[in-house]
Symmetry: D2
């Protein structure tokens, strides 16, 4: 590894990533002034500005996930000042940019500046590895929000994609009784092949009343008013899919059913592991 | 279920299938005269010939997997006489034919006769379910062929497709130490997400010596002479992929490494379950 | 079930127990005035005092675990006033008393009053069931206190008694690599039979450095200064055994190794389940 | 290791043991003339007779399990001639004898000759390790004797001792649905803590009809005529306990329920592993 990296902005995951990368590479940072956890070592160089001198030494620029929250500035909670996206991109002609969840208009500008962009959110390997952290975070949430044990409880997982698969395995490992809901015949066959109970997600009805905990991983509405009416009032709903998610929260509230939203778990429950996975993905890319 | 079925030819799986189907449907059979396990009940009608009368009552014709072994006759080990494919197809105009592993030229003739063909071998759901039986059969073979226990042994699975996934889970459930080999970054990430050790199938070398049992599921040569030289001489190789398979058997013999071929396991180790799965698939289709 | 119960004092577990028992029995309560979670139903009778009238209707008296914290009064955090043990016992001649962790001197007085005492803490069945909640609570603590994932981490469990056995199974189910330490040859054989790595607890040395998380379940000092020196500084120690426990916390602090104490977990992480288990145990007893 | 061993009689396990011991020790053999698998190396000395010269060099004598089948001669299927127990014992004064399943009268004679006897059958560690092989052998038998898959089947295990515990874990690892039957409240609690369904072995009735496979590990009659009547006729019974075992075989036959006897599995299904475990036990002893 003889690459340098210029890291701009980011949250705790990026801070940990900087420290990890500095084991083997020179890492230039910008917009992380307030991060106390940054190690002090000769491989980490804190830049006051992004100038020609810095850019000359760096071909790979690493940004946060999401790349921006407001569409104007790079997401940089540890920065003392705002970091305007267009300013940065204007300076980084012909470089590689690795960041996550980059909006279309920014991709456009990057392209105009001949910047080669890799969006980490589209990195399948990273997404799979992150689903491990998501599954653990979801389990931690379930443990925290119930005053019963997961052992022996009836758990329903809506959706059998990346998160559903890993979550089901882990919950079975904790001796819960697992049912997974999916739509495609193929997925239903896989659910059986992994030893879980299967249910057609489009045909769920009265059998919903048996569940103690339901995890949703589907990004569109599944638990409508009509489905929610079947639930046991003590059932805990855990929403893992981003907005709008699969649970009608308003209706759940009407039924007095508890809903817990647990989003963006990898960065929250396992920032070090997440940084480790990002590091691996970066090494794969370059 | 108000369908009739005409079942032509087939092995023990078909025999069991006939009995199962007869619970809810009328089943006409042809070419199963020697099958002693066929139940005697009013729903099973043994035909002496396939004539207009029989065909009038049946829109769905079920054939064996493989449909034919010689390319001329339907595979019918329980039949007293040969059953010529073209004769049958000529009579079955406008019907549905469900069978497995049907060759291109037969598909052509079927099309000319306006027969709607479903090849079970291309049924993804059935393939997934059959991988359960294959995994169990592979484990049974490993148990039988070793004079050690699987518990605590180092097992390598080549390939992380359907069979690899199910086999890995089951072997881990028997307390073996599992390593899975794959090529794609994505598959390697999945292997980790499921809690197994991963190894790049293209970069395997000296670490091969640690394995006690290696299962191959890849349909092209993986364990070449060069790879085989690293193996422990006591290692057992189990070939699950059909010809040519992934193991250079000649070279393995030279190294005095034992190779066991375990093919077409679902029909052999669990004919009843396999018939059950075929029945489900047929009900899905019609 | 046609028994009445008189419940005196207790924490949230007892409150939940009262509600559960009231499904099938009449429950008289004393010393739970401040408990808001007590259901209002005809089967729960809140007593202002323990008088002849109340005692006449109850042969089984249920107290908390621990029965007392100060040796003088019954443990009653929801009571408005102190409940003197001797007063109560003096009134309860010839009754059955079920409570937990009852001191020797109280047993003596109970005996003098011909009270038949069952100490729940000595109930093996309850202890086994509680170890499930303890294991889940220990895992929740580990998830909360690390910024890495448990998946793939190297975990050492000191002791292979009730908690060690259940905890090991669950952590393996979360895809951690498990090593269990015990002293007896028999326990070491069991550790192997369950598919974990084993280590002689008296001979641990340099291999300690590989562990990311260590759970202690042994009630006497195991991780002395001499052992702690081998640990990775990032290792998390979780103490599950009550005082003095198995970890020299002062020395761990010197080594800057994080120690988390997680005691009395069943009542904290799963009070409803714990109450359920106590209810079962009570029904077993009477 | 600087011990010599004199090995007398025994079956394939002993043959493998001789080869293993010869890695580090000098091994004298007697009564294994017909065993072709004995390695030829300088550490193995085949004795023509047990004379003073041989005995002078050996303090530890290893015999088979069982030590004798007829009560008169040492169990020696690879010997060309009978080996009279009394003859041997008379010569082995003041030595150590390690063998298995030694009858009381022989222990008596050994004692008179000041021979220190260790009965391997009473070695708890070995018994635990052997239960791993037994569990695998039992699973292999179940796979072989059914034409369905174990995956998803309803399995009942009678008894929750060594074999029950290991077998339950492995079958669950193969995605079977596990119910364990025991008598003691404590064992029933353990069954739940390990995540299996539990059933009181004394109260089994109509619920027996749900099971596809029943393994018995209890050495006294459990499945009496009265219990057998509840079973599904397709249920497979596997007897793992030695005579009389827990299944009324005659009555099972009347009900046309298949019973498979699978005894002494460690030596049959995994002689090498078994020899390895015996070797470990011998090293523990000396």
């Amino acid at each position: 590894m003889d690459n340098n990296f210029l890291v701009i902005g980011g949250d705790l995951r990026i801070v940990k990533l900087v420290n990890m990368l500095s084991d083997k590479n020179i890492v230039y940072t910008y917009g992380l002034e307030k991060a106390k956890e940054i190690d002090s070592n000769k491989n980490i160089i804190k830049c006051k500005k992004i100038d020609e001198e810095v850019l000359q030494k760096n071909n790979v620029i690493i940004g946060p996930t999401p790349f921006s929250k407001d569409g104007l500035n790079i997401f940089a909670p540890y920065s003392n000042s705002k970091i305007n996206i267009k300013d940065v991109i204007g300076k980084c002609k012909d470089k590689n940019l690795i960041a996550g969840s980059i909006k279309e208009d920014i991709l456009e500008i990057a392209k105009e500046n001949n910047i080669q962009v890799t969006d980490m959110i589209k990195n399948e390997k990273l997404a799979i590895l992150n689903s491990i952290s998501t599954a653990e975070g979801a389990i931690e949430a379930a443990m925290k929000e119930t005053d019963t044990i997961i052992h022996g409880s009836n758990v329903l997982i809506l959706g059998f994609g990346r998160i559903g698969k890993v979550l089901a395995k882990k919950l079975q490992g904790l001796s819960a009784h697992i049912t997974c809901a999916a739509r495609k015949q193929e997925d239903l066959a896989w659910i059986n092949a992994y030893g879980y109970n299967s249910i057609n997600i489009n045909k769920m009805g009265k059998e919903l009343e048996q569940f103690d905990i339901i995890f949703n991983t589907v990004p569109y509405l599944i638990l409508t008013k009509e489905k929610l009416k079947y639930l046991n009032k003590k059932c805990l709903l855990i929403e893992l899919a981003s907005n709008p998610g699969g649970i009608d929260r308003k209706e759940a509230e009407n039924y007095k059913i508890k809903v817990v939203e647990a989003l963006a778990l990898p960065g929250k429950v396992a920032p070090t592991t997440t940084a480790e996975f990002i590091k691996e993905a970066i090494y794969d890319i370059i």
